[in-house]
Amino acid sequence: MNHSKDSLEDHLRAFAQELPYPPTPDIAWAVRQELVKGQKRATWLGPAASRRWIALGVAALLLVVLAGVLLVPGVRATVIEFLQIGVIRIFVPEPALTPAPTMSSITSPVHTPVLTQILTPSPTSGYLISLNGLQGETTLETAIQKASFTLRLPSYPEKLGKPDRIFMQDLGGAVVILVWTKAENPDAAELIIYQIAPGSWAGEKGSPHILEHTQVNGQEAVWAEGPHVLVMTNGELNFRRLIAGHVLIWVENGVTYRLESNFSLEQAIRIAESLIPIP
């Protein structure tokens, strides 16, 4: 095959010119705001000695306010309501109590009416979607070897088979992501199971449409129905994403599992309870 040099380079240039970039946001304004905030902070805080006294004062004030706030039951619920499942923490701001949705023939869950917050889904950004540039893709065999815990695969549904794509990263602990893609579209996922070792990542904040306590193999679990926004932070890194699907999170033997799919709670629990170590 002979690509003429000009041909490929010309096509690249033409393609680059036609690429529909998103509109450039007003970064200058945002940067200015950040700089102004930084200046105000610096001016207000002053020298180090003053900062220590101010910090002590602020801490004392916070203690007083916190004590007062926690004496009010309604406020207390608002302030402290979050769910911690393994390494995942879900914060639910401004909660309102609503009944849990009706469900039938669930394996062994304990359902608790929990907190509901309606969230209007915003369109996801990103016109260019590809897995090709994603870091950490590996084989199942390699993931099994490198993971510090025993990887498990669902034995239900029987036809599910092995995951189509496997990703792995290690940030203080292994994170393995197993992706089953849609048969008709290998770029779209049908089921994703995260298996996360302790210490891998800090947590996530979310405000899902429906959030329920349930159980997987007798262990506490949380079921979240999308769409909801996740905000995950770890140090200075910050990640915000709209989650469209349903998520089941639970912990077994110190490993946090996060199952994301379009399946119902009943199906998700059945898949979760079917996990068996890879032989």
């Binding site: 096509h11 970064i27 590809s130 579209n185 770029d187 990640f239 994403r241 699907g245």
Partner: protein, 217 residues
């Protein structure tokens, strides 16, 4: 000189007076107005910095977008780029053009972001129920859309280093010299890397998109 709080006033004043910067370094590649703005920004003038950000925000955002394929993440990276550049402004060499310096910061941040676990989650999350979109929804004709999608897929199959040099040269249309400064390598290295990247791109097209080459002939 009295401080000027309106960036349009700064530009107008510079345009009218052609005043020079009070710095010691004699710039060679920067327009005098940019030097003035940098000198003011170095003294903490946020408005002057805002003017500079406006000059370079589009290429910084677009480079981050090419790396990350997500406008929210690209915006974060672009903002961080200019905040870090502002903090490091004293170390900027006024004898050099500013764009490659800005883009080198943006590329580093985008590279780190791409490697981060959150980026990793983000891309997987987007896969959950989102049908793949064509690269260019605004391109007329199915044939042309298919071509652009195929070409984009081929570029995405390249290693990150190969992608980077192609983005800088073809997508941001930087000169060899500017690309070299952005990548902190010699111009000759840019040429050889670009040749290698294009060779690999041809190989990917031959292997994965053989119909694409026929459509070009």
């Amino acid at each position: 000189m009295e401080p000027v709080r309106c960036f349009r006033c700064i530009l107008l004043r510079m345009k009218l007076s052609g005043e020079s910067a009070p710095g010691e370094v004699q710039p060679t590649d920067l327009p005098q107005s940019s030097v003035d703005l940098i000198m003011r920004a170095r003294q903490g003038d946020g408005v002057a910095w805002e003017v500079l950000v406006q000059q370079y925000q589009q290429p910084a955002f677009r480079l981050a977008y090419l790396f990350l394929e997500d406008s929210d993440e690209a915006e974060d990276v672009a903002q961080e780029t200019f905040l870090r550049a502002f903090q490091a402004l004293d170390r900027f060499d006024l004898s050099r053009p500013m764009l490659p310096w800005i883009l080198s910061i943006a590329a580093n941040l985008a590279r780190n972001r791409r490697r981060s676990i959150w980026r990793f989650f983000g891309v997987v999350q987007r896969l959950v129920r989102e049908e793949p979109r064509l690269v260019s929804g605004e391109v007329d004709g199915a044939e042309q859309r298919w071509q652009t999608q195929s070409l984009w897929d081929a570029v995405q199959h390249l290693k990150h280093n190969d992608q980077e040099v192609i983005y800088l040269r073809f997508f941001l249309e930087l000169s060899v010299e500017e690309t070299a400064q952005t990548m902190a390598v010699a111009p000759g290295t840019v040429k050889s890397r670009l040749n290698r990247a294009l060779t690999r791109l041809r190989e990917v097209i031959d292997r994965d998109h053989p119909d694409l080459k026929d459509s070009w002939t």
